[in-house]
């Protein structure tokens, strides 16, 4: 990165570190933090969407839909999440290949599961044979996104369902007395007001989501944990930058990164709660109204 970095072995301390911390692998390490942020940004709306669908299914009067929602939420919540994180990507991957296999190669006569192998024809491989490393990474990442969205969607569904029921029933009844249909009452009365009840739960789930992002490492994605392990391990003098075992410092950086994330989002949710409480028929909302009236 810097011009004096051509021969690090003769550099004084601070220049050595400047070169060391800007080496190519370190830049990849810094980018991996962006991967974590990207995952959070992608998963949050997806999980919220899944959760909304799940909550609507839980509310549904139509029995099969209701049973589907109930089954989804209870199954995901009853099993340790890590099982789902590892199960969903591999099961989904095999499922996609199975479907593609039946579409693309209808006259394939051998069984797909032979002993311990899962064999599909060449056209059914996902990602395709000879795909670039970049495409493979994107595929692995989107599998992880699906797993995260599925698991956290179930949590969100439960929270939103509770929040919908917490909106004062009298308001819904009033809306219906004014001649609104059920859908209208839901859209105009329940939906805008449910968020203040959902926020504590959503904030909790968001914190859990942040703290579960290191599990990307288990899905074979080169995330921050991967790089911390790679870079921190002792390097012999064969390497450009030899150093002893520094893993503990790298993981300390990771710990600080996550502490900062959770601390920051706690502040963020605090602010959001304040915004949402305005004008609500709750104790806190009433307090805010009085304070403003007094001022």
């Amino acid at each position: 990165m810097f011009q004096f970095c051509t021969d690090p072995s003769i550099l004084p301390d601070w220049q050595w570190f400047a070169c060391y911390l800007t080496s190519g692998t370190h830049l990849a390490f810094y980018r991996s933090f962006l991967v974590v942020i990207l995952l959070l940004i992608v998963v949050a709306p997806l999980a919220l969407g899944m959760g909304m669908l799940g909550a609507l299914a839980l509310r549904s009067q139509f029995l099969p839909v209701n049973a589907l929602g109930r089954g989804y939420v209870n199954l995901v919540r009853g099993v340790p999440d890590i099982v789902f994180f590892l199960f969903v990507p591999i099961a989904l991957g095999q499922g996609i290949e199975w479907v593609l296999h039946h579409i693309n190669c209808p006259d394939w006569d051998q069984p797909i599961r032979q002993g311990n192998d899962f064999i599909v024809c060449r056209e059914a491989k996902v990602p395709p044979v000879g795909a670039s490393a970049w495409a493979r990474n994107v595929y692995a990442f989107s599998m992880a996104v699906v797993a995260f969205a599925l698991v956290f969607g179930a949590f969100v569904a439960n929270t939103l369902y509770g929040a919908m029921r917490a909106v004062p029933q009298a308001q819904v009844e009033t809306a219906e007395a004014y001649g609104m249909t059920q859908a209208q009452a839901f859209r105009r009365i329940v939906l805008p007001q449910m968020w203040v009840f959902a926020l504590p739960g959503l904030s909790n789930i968001w914190q859990i989501l942040i703290k579960s992002t290191p599990l990307l490492f288990l899905l074979g994605i080169q995330d921050a944990v991967y790089w911390a392990r790679e870079l921190g391990g002792a390097k012999t003098s064969l390497y450009t930058y030899p150093h002893p075992d520094w893993r503990v410092w790298y993981f300390l950086v990771l710990l600080c990164f996550y502490l900062f994330l959770t601390w920051g989002s706690e502040r963020g949710f605090g602010w959001l709660t304040l915004r949402m409480t305005r004008g609500q028929a709750t104790a806190e909302g009433e307090r805010l109204r009085r304070r403003r009236a007094a001022a």
């Binding site: 919540r77 340790p80 890590i82 911390a228 503990v248 993981f251 996550y258 502490l259 959770t262 601390w263």
Partner: protein, 283 residues
């Protein structure tokens, strides 16, 4: 092919180490369904070991940390709050990595602990094993989470009870032991039950992180993952381990429910706190 009885003999106690069953784990096409059933069930012994000991030690430590955070002395409450923030704000998975890489750097010496009748020598290298070092991290982690629950409960101890204690002239330890502590436990117990469940679920992370599984002796999920890697079939081992964990969870709910009944025995029935199963935490 092995029969189920042979699988049981060979693999049920294998998670304890090589001396308790077959030397090697079943591999590739040699894996039978019964192997998976018994080896994963045997691995559950370690989950119970980790969860049981972590809850036992964590419970007492958490009471101390919660009292420290509740204290009006900033020299006590600040460090306690910092400890809780550190362990609740960062992922357990990274904590395992961090502490493991710190333990590896420790000089290898024996520390003598005189117990009066005998002297216990603890080697620092033991901290690099999951059974000691991993347990250590789990204890600290559950201490932080439980301390936060207990702290919330301490703040919610009914004022009337404290006034009654004062009226009876109770102070210090007897006030704490008879009034504050039972109330704190009673109030925190439903959420503490959930904490125990999450802790049990998170014991699956130990061998997935830095701690090595020596002689391939690991916990249930370690073996489930091993089988999936070997057979490339996630539809047997993962549902099995999920089912075991559901059973374990039900057992915890049952046990903690009994304690809950005892803690609330003086209250009229409708006021008793009910334990609700809300497994939605992951650290």
């Amino acid at each position: 092919m092995r029969t189920c009885a042979e699988s049981f003999d060979g693999y049920f106690l294998r998670p304890l180490g090589r001396d308790y069953g077959e030397r090697l784990l079943p591999r590739g096409l040699d894996i039978t369904f019964c192997d998976q059933v018994f080896l994963i069930a045997g691995g559950l012994l370690w989950n119970i070991y980790f969860a049981g000991l972590a809850i036992l030690f964590g419970f007492f430590l958490a009471t101390a940390v919660a009292l420290a955070k509740f204290s009006e002395n900033p020299w006590l409450s600040r460090p306690a709050a910092g400890f809780i923030f550190f362990f609740r704000g960062s992922p357990l998975f990274i904590q395992f990595f961090f502490f493991y890489s710190a333990f590896v750097l420790l000089p290898r010496v024996g520390v003598d602990i005189p117990l009066g009748f005998t002297t216990l020598t603890i080697h620092t290298s033991a901290l690099t094993t999951a059974q000691v070092g991993g347990l250590f991290v789990l204890i600290l982690n559950t201490t932080a989470y439980s301390a936060e629950l207990f702290y919330g409960a301490l703040r919610a101890v009914p004022r009337g009870d404290l006034e009654a204690a004062d009226a009876y002239g109770m102070t210090g330890l007897s006030r704490f032991r008879r009034i504050v502590w039972p109330n704190m436990l009673r109030l925190a117990w439903p959420s503490y039950t959930n904490e125990a469940i999450f802790l049990t679920h998170s014991t699956t992370l130990i061998f997935l992180s830095a701690f090595p599984a020596r002689q391939q002796s690991g916990e249930a999920f370690y073996y489930a993952r091993y089988f999936v890697d070997q057979t490339f079939n996630p539809f047997v081992a993962y549902p099995l381990v999920a089912a075991y964990f559901i059973l374990l969870t039900l057992a915890i709910i049952g046990f903690f429910g009994l304690v809950n009944v005892r803690l609330n025995r003086h209250l009229p029935r409708p006021q008793r706190a009910r334990i609700r199963f809300r497994p939605q935490y992951l650290r």
